[in-house]
Subunit: 319 residues, 2 copies
């Protein structure tokens, strides 16, 4: 453990009493903190512990999803609607494993479920630096929370799946340690929750999962009555490439009048590339796209056709 | 001029006889080369020379767009439909200036024309490394061709504006010197053309122009009967950040059930940020977004809402 410039003021375990599976501003906070306090959150993985290191495709068949298990909510004293919650992400600690999976056909979500007639699963061994795939492929470990948000103002309960202006399941892979997120507060106290941590993910998270992993997250929560944001904003230093410096990438363009279709085409071409040039099965390729390939919008202005490309860092093959 | 590992086999000037303003496979090649030859193309800027260093917003008012002026077409001996044209981009040479502009309201294209009631224009002074904006803001110069493609098989003439599977106006900012592009050939000889060079651009090119600039481009054209691609693919070493290494970025998320609307929201928030925190006018901010801010797709799988974020490299303010 390195020396820190912070001390943990509060710890929240991932006991069932600290975990919730939907968003509701009517839920009582499990902790109330002063602005500026540092909280260490233990977070369950997205499967709520159903997928362990011995999981198989058969385990996937019986997986039940009742919402992302989120740790919280935490109230920040004095936080009021219209203000901003500043969340400094200080440290992530994983448990040495994670998993990536997709479902096929009608059972599937994600970008291309119809291209597969069976599900896919990879259990990853994680160390501090890399996650191991197959055939000498290693993906850098750069943990972040898939879900990070405050409670929406709207009454009732709300699914954890779609992200909203208050955050939630934003799946922004750049929210790594050292990043700061600004969230618009809609209710008294803010009611902050976090979870669904990923050890790595590509921009797009195309197969519907990153490297899903149980983790602990340490974050400083600060009330910012002096600023306002309409949707989440953030400061980050990346990673913007796998190695942290400009490096060789292989990229496949998708060109279409619809950005989603362009994204699908780009990933289809990348799956072809990984299958034909790198010897992966198409299922393995789809999993790897979801954790290591980035979708960038090249242009959205040359009507009627837009370009989205998928970028594969060649450095992940150097292991 | 540094030492090269190539020699130029052919030169194509940007005389009117070597320039065309639409795509048509019925156009006779202005040059026929052997596979592997290196060609130096002089390329006019996207305004076809109408915008010089003394241009003003008034000049924009009288600008006439008849298609991107493209240099070519070049036939590659023996190239046949179904094969791939490999284009190694070897060198770019600009003329020391470039321009970025947008039109307002109904006259405008791009992502957010309705947010402006007057057009915007910036004339850039370029050196080998940077392009100068305002108030100590410098954008790195990383030239690439906005338009790069081969002739489509479909009969008739085709606008240069939309990109197609054979390439064209793809506006992929990573097609810098050292990159290699693979284009699907649809007609005998391939009929390759190039132009619309940009000295810099953000992913998205949101205001509809990058740093538009006349340039010369040196490229090696190689017939690849041994491979096939459905849409353009490419190898690149970036730039993936402004400085070439992971660096601080400020990012604004746009969350919506439509990827285009999410992109619009992300850029609207970034314009707000540049206006409020960096003191730019909203028009200046929109221009800067188009040349220096990158749109990334964070997730396309958390139905019904997707996340697109706009990333601003803070290093451009260090000048």
């Amino acid at each position: 453990m390195s020396e820190h410039s912070w001390t943990v003021d509060h710890r929240l375990s991932d006991d069932e009493s600290n975990v919730h599976y939907d968003w509701s501003h009517e839920r009582s906070p499990v902790l109330t903190v002063e602005s500026g306090d540092v909280v260490r959150f233990d977070c369950r993985d997205a499967s709520n512990g159903q997928l362990g290191t011995d999981a198989t495709v058969e385990t996937l068949r019986s997986l039940r999803f009742d919402g992302h298990p989120l740790t919280g909510p935490v109230a920040i004293e004095g936080a009021a609607p219209g203000e901003v919650l500043e969340v400094e992400l200080l440290e992530f600690e994983h448990r040495g494993y994670g998993f990536t999976y997709f479902y096929e056909g009608d059972a599937g979500k994600g970008l291309l479920p119809e291209e597969f007639d069976e599900p896919g699963l990879h259990i990853w061994e994680l160390d501090d630096d890399v996650a191991r795939f197959v055939d000498g492929i290693e993906v850098p470990v750069n943990p972040f929370p898939g879900c990070i948000g405050v409670a929406p103002r709207a009454n009732g309960t709300h699914s954890t799946t779609p992200p909203r202006r208050v955050g939630g399941n934003v799946d922004i892979k750049h929210l790594t340690a050292g990043s700061t997120v600004y969230l618009p507060i809609e209710v008294e106290g803010g009611l902050f929750s976090i979870g669904d941590c990923h050890a790595a993910q590509g921009d797009g998270e195309v197969c519907v999962t990153g490297i899903e992993a149980p983790m602990s997250v340490t974050a400083r929560l600060t009330r910012r009555p002096d600023i306002s944001v309409e949707e989440p904003q953030f400061e980050t230093t990346g990673p913007f490439t796998a190695s942290g410096v400009d490096e060789p990438m292989y990229a496949t363009a998708g060109i279409d009048s619809d950005l989603m279709t362009a994204s699908e085409k780009a990933i289809e071409h990348m799956i072809d590339h990984l299958h034909e040039e790198r010897g992966l099965s198409r299922g393995e390729a789809y999993l790897l796209c979801s954790v290591a390939v980035d979708l960038k919008i090249n242009e959205v202005v040359d009507a009627p056709n837009w370009v989205v490309s998928a970028y594969l860092p060649e450095s992940i093959f150097s292991a």
